[in-house]
């Protein structure tokens, strides 16, 4: 059985169920308390769990993200909410030098079972300092797990897995998806890390799409299907660990790959996927791997500029057509 929930509701359900089951779990972040979080994820949780477990912090990102680590290495299971992923930059020492490395540096003597929830993506012209998609920063930091869910069901299932994981997880939620609804299974379930979801089967080209780009890729796949072009759309769901085998298998079948990501082009998650696929699927590729990413610019404020910078369905369609030139379907 399932119900329709928004992403925000699905995340809240995961948080509440886990917090009821494990008293060591607590949440801290800005405006998460009585206000319920600026994207409503913790709405009502202050009333149920109280201010000790749903804790408003001062605007002290390095402080409370680091405090999450301190609590985690002594048996707590903290969840730190960073509001905008852009603010992770303020807490970067704790994330990169401390949280990611604690377990490794200690020779396994400590572990860091914590989750840092943050938002990614452009929404409503919040401009250069509130619109970034910085998940590549975390993928580039050994020791961090990175989740990038695209559906309410995956939000719930992956967040539960993140909370029960004994390693630090950076959980990247797209701002434009908070109030988008989807079917969410009833009851307690976990979505495993490192298992991609093949959203649509196809034989002409593979599209690996990240977070909200999954929706754009599915729309393009629908459109092209009417012309007989069949895209296989894969949502990796977690970047670390990445389900490489599913991606390789798909590309070996289709012979073509486009990676679509809202992170900017250079040094991106898409670059990493393109690189690995180019090596592992070299003999099967019928065209160079294409990347559809944000431009290598900060995110501009003005709507026509923002729209230009962010990867759109048209951009994906163009990329797909460019690698299908001369193909049997085209």
């Amino acid at each position: 059985m399932s119900r329709e929930l928004t992403q925000a509701e699905a995340l809240r359900e995961a948080l509440c169920e886990e917090m009821r089951a494990d008293k060591q779990i607590f949440i801290m972040g800005e405006d998460v308390g009585p206000h319920g979080g600026i994207f409503t994820v913790t709405k009502g949780m202050f009333d149920e769990f109280g201010g000790e477990r749903v804790r408003d912090t001062p605007i002290s990102e390095a402080g409370f993200v680091g405090a999450a680590l301190g609590a985690a290495i002594i048996g707590g299971r903290p969840i730190a909410e960073l509001m905008f992923g852009d603010f992770a930059a303020v807490a970067m020492d704790q994330l990169v030098n401390q949280i990611a490395k604690a377990r490794y540096m200690s020779g396994g003597k400590v572990k860091a079972p914590l989750v840092v929830r943050l938002t990614i993506g452009a929404r409503g012209s919040t401009a250069a300092q509130h619109s970034q998609s910085p998940h590549a920063w975390f993928m580039h930091t050994p020791g961090l797990y990175v989740a990038v869910p695209s559906t309410p069901a995956d939000c719930k299932g992956l967040l539960k897995t993140a909370i029960r994981n004994d390693n630090p997880v950076v959980f990247c939620e797209h701002k434009k998806l908070y109030f988008v609804k989807g079917q969410v299974p009833d009851g307690d379930y976990m979505t495993p890390f490192g298992v991609a979801d093949i959203k649509r089967q196809g034989k002409h080209a593979t599209v690996v799409a990240i977070s909200i780009m999954v929706n754009k890729a599915l729309a393009v796949a629908d459109k092209l299907a009417r012309e007989g072009i069949e895209l296989e759309v894969i949502d990796p769901r977690t970047l670390v660990p990445m389900d490489w085998e599913t991606i390789f298998k798909s590309v070996r079948k289709t012979g073509r790959l486009v990676v679509m990501d809202e992170g900017c082009f250079t040094g991106s998650v898409a670059a990493e996927i393109a690189s690995k696929v180019s090596k592992e699927c070299f003999d099967y590729l019928d065209a160079p791997v294409e990347r559809v990413c944000a431009t290598d610019t900060p995110i501009p404020f003005s709507p026509p500029l923002e729209e230009f910078v962010i990867p759109q369905e048209d951009d994906l369609e163009k990329a797909v057509r460019s690698i299908l030139v001369g193909a049997a379907c085209a």
Binding site: D56, P58, I59, Q129, F265, S302, P303, L305
Partner: protein, 324 residues
């Protein structure tokens, strides 16, 4: 303060107020693509502080920075066009409401990251000193920002190096939904200056004569080479955190009480009382500024958006990789 200066303060506050209220209307009418953090009720801080500054003195500001830009001399139409995302805005529509710059008048960035402007202002002060000028820098920031590491690191360096920087904390009682009482375990944020061996003072941020006097002291100290000052201005954020925030986390009575301490009413009454202006003078001034802001709004509204490809201009790095 001479007559001209007194009227100047009133004029600046009215400009800011009317620009912000106009932006609130434009927001409602869908003319602003983002949210907007408005400064209504806090005008006496920007006006009083900036009245002490020369054009070559510099400021950094925050997400709530429209008022600082105007007080530092930005034409309202440039500010408003930027907020409306137009190519005629002070940053050609790239920066927006939270990120405004105009170095020609010393606006060195209103910054969307809380606390982010404070180290920058510290560096502006450092440069002024190294360059052998008597320029000063002012950092405007909120009560919320005073709990960020950037605040503490900035104050310590500025005091250690005797930098010509004035840190102006706008304690408007809230950081988004969180009352300062729930974020900060002290009554007066200005006492934090003691820990860094620098001057600190708390003033009524709704009284422009108080903010002016405190800033006059601090600017003189900075220009003499005697180092930084922390000025805490107590005020109240009348509106929601941003337009569209209904601010249900506080009582209507509390907001109403704050409205009654309106900084413009206060200063207008002082000037009427001491004979600086007549009722008619006020009406005339009010009308003049209303017109200025109406024209600015029209300019913002009628200006065009930048063209999409403008997004690729002005970015460092490797332009060959600016795909699209």
């Amino acid at each position: 303060m001479n007559r001209e200066m007194k009227i100047g303060l009133l004029e600046t506050m009215l400009k800011i107020r009317k620009a912000e209220l106009q932006l609130a209307v434009m927001f409602k009418n869908g003319k602003i693509p983002s949210g907007a953090h408005l400064y209504e009720g806090e005008e006496a801080i920007a006006a009083g502080v900036c009245a002490n500054l020369r054009t070559d003195d510099q400021i950094t500001s925050t997400h709530r920075g429209h008022g600082h830009c105007i007080a530092k001399g930005m034409e309202p139409r440039r500010m408003m066009a930027e907020v409306c995302a137009k190519s005629t805005g002070c940053c050609s529509g790239k920066g927006g409401t939270m990120h405004m710059f105009d170095p020609s008048i010393g606006v060195m960035g209103t910054i969307g990251i809380v606390g982010g402007g404070m180290p920058i202002a510290t560096g502006l002060g450092l440069a002024a000193k190294l360059q052998g000028t008597d320029r000063v820098a002012v950092s405007f920031f909120g009560d919320g920002a005073s709990n960020n590491g950037a605040f503490h690191e900035s104050l310590n360096m500025a005091s250690l190096w005797k930098l010509p920087v004035i840190y102006v904390c706008e304690n408007n009682q809230f950081a988004t939904s969180v009352s300062v009482k729930r974020s900060t375990p002290i009554e007066d944020i200005s006492v934090r200056a003691i820990g860094y061996g620098m001057s600190g003072v708390t003033v009524d941020g709704n009284k422009v004569d108080e903010t002016y006097a405190a800033a006059a002291d601090a600017v003189a100290r900075a220009r003499r080479g005697d180092g930084p000052t922390l000025i805490e201005c107590k005020t109240y954020r009348i509106r929601g955190h941003f337009e569209g925030d209904d601010a249900i986390y506080r009582s209507k009575e509390e907001v109403q009480a704050a409205r009654e301490r309106d900084p413009i009413e206060y200063w207008k009454n002082v000037l009427l009382g001491d004979g600086t202006i007549s009722e008619q003078d006020f009406i005339d001034l009010n009308e003049k500024i209303e017109q200025l802001i109406a024209q600015a709004a029209q300019f913002a509204d009628e200006s065009s958006y930048p063209t999409p490809e403008d997004a690729l201009k002005l970015c460092g790095g490797n332009p060959s990789l600016l795909v699209k």
